[in-house]
Symmetry: C2
Subunit: 337 residues, 2 copies
């Protein structure tokens, strides 16, 4: 038996009774090898569990066969869902995903200083990352194709949702139910930074109020770190105001799950005393009866993967805005009279 670590193309060629060049062509799917021969070679290679060395097969073409995915935190549902969809689509195209997690501002700073993806990947997908300008400027030095998912950075190809319209839709729903005292819980990351989508949702919220002729109130907008527990604190803070809101729009469903509990903890019934709306349609939203504005995160991930594949094939790409949809459940109703 051949020791597995020593199996190479020559072993396959010997067994198949063909040249190493023929094995190489057969395994890379190149023309010039008959179908029967190709089938026999693949069968023998499979028997020997021989896998063509990616370095050997790609270095000459200057391609790594890998795409880097840069993401703040895989444990947050939005990022995990997006990453899952990107990986599935790239895997279908026989590309590997190299994962770069930039979980805090320091790691992010190191990433953009060192640009560790250079020469390791053919392209990079950046997922919903808040970036200061000096780090944005470094992106040009990556020297590979860049696609942005869940937001936009400079003029890189991107797929996103219309965050202003999403927030305005939620406010419109609440206004339609009769609410006038509508608050918003924003979310921060990396200490006190706001994602671009968060700022755009704030604009949409303010626009929604303006459209309904409702003056904005400064005390009705609070910012909390992006965790459910902080969402609960945010809701408690709002509901403790002298004139508390009758409805709360939350940056995301995970913040809203916290807000639901914060409201209940402080003695408020949902939706009788206070209505709560999220954004996402997280897998728990349906079971929690949360009214939300749904965005299809997996579709955005697939689209981002598709865009980087087209870029790598030197095909043109168009920026994409994925649709959203109001999903009315049990957490919103008319305000108390």
């Amino acid at each position: 038996m051949v020791e597995r670590s020593e199996i190479n193309m020559a072993d396959v060629a010997r067994r198949a009774g063909v040249s190493v060049a023929t094995v190489s062509r057969a395994m890379r799917g190149l023309p010039g090898v008959g179908e029967a021969t190709r089938a026999r070679i693949l069968e023998i290679a499979d028997e020997l569990a021989y896998v063509i060395s990616p370095e050997a097969s790609r270095l000459s073409g200057g391609q790594t066969g890998r795409v880097g995915v840069v993401v703040p935190a895989t444990e947050k549902w939005f990022y995990g869902e997006m990453l899952a969809a990107i990986e599935r689509r790239l895997r279908e195209a026989d590309l590997d995903v190299l994962l770069y997690q930039v979980s805090d501002a320091e790691v992010r700073g190191r990433f953009f200083r060192d640009l560790p993806t250079r020469r390791k990947v053919d392209g990079v997908v950046l997922i919903a990352l808040p970036l200061p300008q000096h780090e944005v400027d470094r992106l040009d030095l990556l020297g590979v194709e860049v696609v942005v998912a869940g937001g936009r950075i400079k003029d890189f190809a991107h797929v996103e949702v219309d965050d202003r319209a999403i927030a305005a839709t939620a406010v419109e729903h609440l206004v339609g139910l009769g609410h006038r005292r509508i608050a918003m819980i924003r979310a921060t990351i990396y200490g006190d930074e706001h994602w671009a989508p968060d700022s755009q949702r704030l604009e949409g919220y303010l626009q929604g109020l303006a459209d309904a002729g409702i003056p904005a109130r400064e005390e009705y907008v609070v910012s909390v770190p992006f965790t459910p527990l902080d969402g609960a604190t945010g809701a408690e803070e709002l509901l403790a105001l002298a004139e508390p809101p009758t409805a709360i729009l939350c940056f995301s469903d995970e913040i809203a799950f916290g807000a639901l509990q914060g409201a209940r903890r402080s003695g408020h019934r949902v939706p009788e005393d206070v209505s709560i709306v999220g954004i996402d349609d997280h897998p728990l939203a349906a079971v929690m009866g949360l009214t939300t504005v749904r965005q299809d995160v997996a579709a955005q991930g697939e689209m981002a993967a598709e865009m980087i594949l087209r870029r790598l094939a030197h095909l043109p790409v168009k920026d994409v805005v994925e649709p959203h949809e109001l999903v009315i459940r049990a957490s919103t109703a008319a305000p108390p009279t």
Copy 2:
């Protein structure tokens, strides 16, 4: 200005007024280069955003500088959290993570048939993956170091929790509150497969009942797909029995979040009418007031990364069982009288 894609070691050498060999030694941290020279070289390289080609620097040593992480689904909290911790630790050690998602039985089958990680990674971490025996057998052909996290496979190095003890601890808590009619909601993946931890939790549940002298009842164990919505259905099914349970142990917190809602939806108060216990201590568990048995998923991820690093350094590793802890919150109380 030098075009960035053409920057190479020769450019750095020219600017620094040293030989290419000196640049190479300086950038790889090898001895034989004075500190001042080294600092100047690194500064110039940084200016030019030159990054040493990983292929060029590693191929000779036979190392890829990459670790493959194989995981069923990054969008599930447990896997996202584990992956986050593994990536952080490997990044510190200057290793890249190549992500392989095996989201269904077909993709998993393809993974174990093709073993795509061969020659692409120095080692593989498998996260909590249910595997049929013929796929387990293929693992030996990977030809690289293997570490298993969140379970065990064959005699590969592994880090896990004591799933039997976890379930028995939960049952003991419920028995201590006076419950005798205790049910369990199990979870499946890949259609109807059970993770090894799920089977061990069933054993722990049965052992906990036996220890308390409570006969097991077949109708008190249901299996549902691993989603909160299915957790809700599972709870409704149990609570619709002629003699419904007064307490339900759930495979995980995500199942328990569903069960909480399923109980409420079918007119049962938690904990007055029915107690519910999860396993994990998911970030939402505290805010939902869920009693659970906490496991430290990030610690398991860090440990798995540590183990693969030791393996790659040819150091011995010991299997690890991480501790667990009962966290009592508002979802459990004495049974109704």
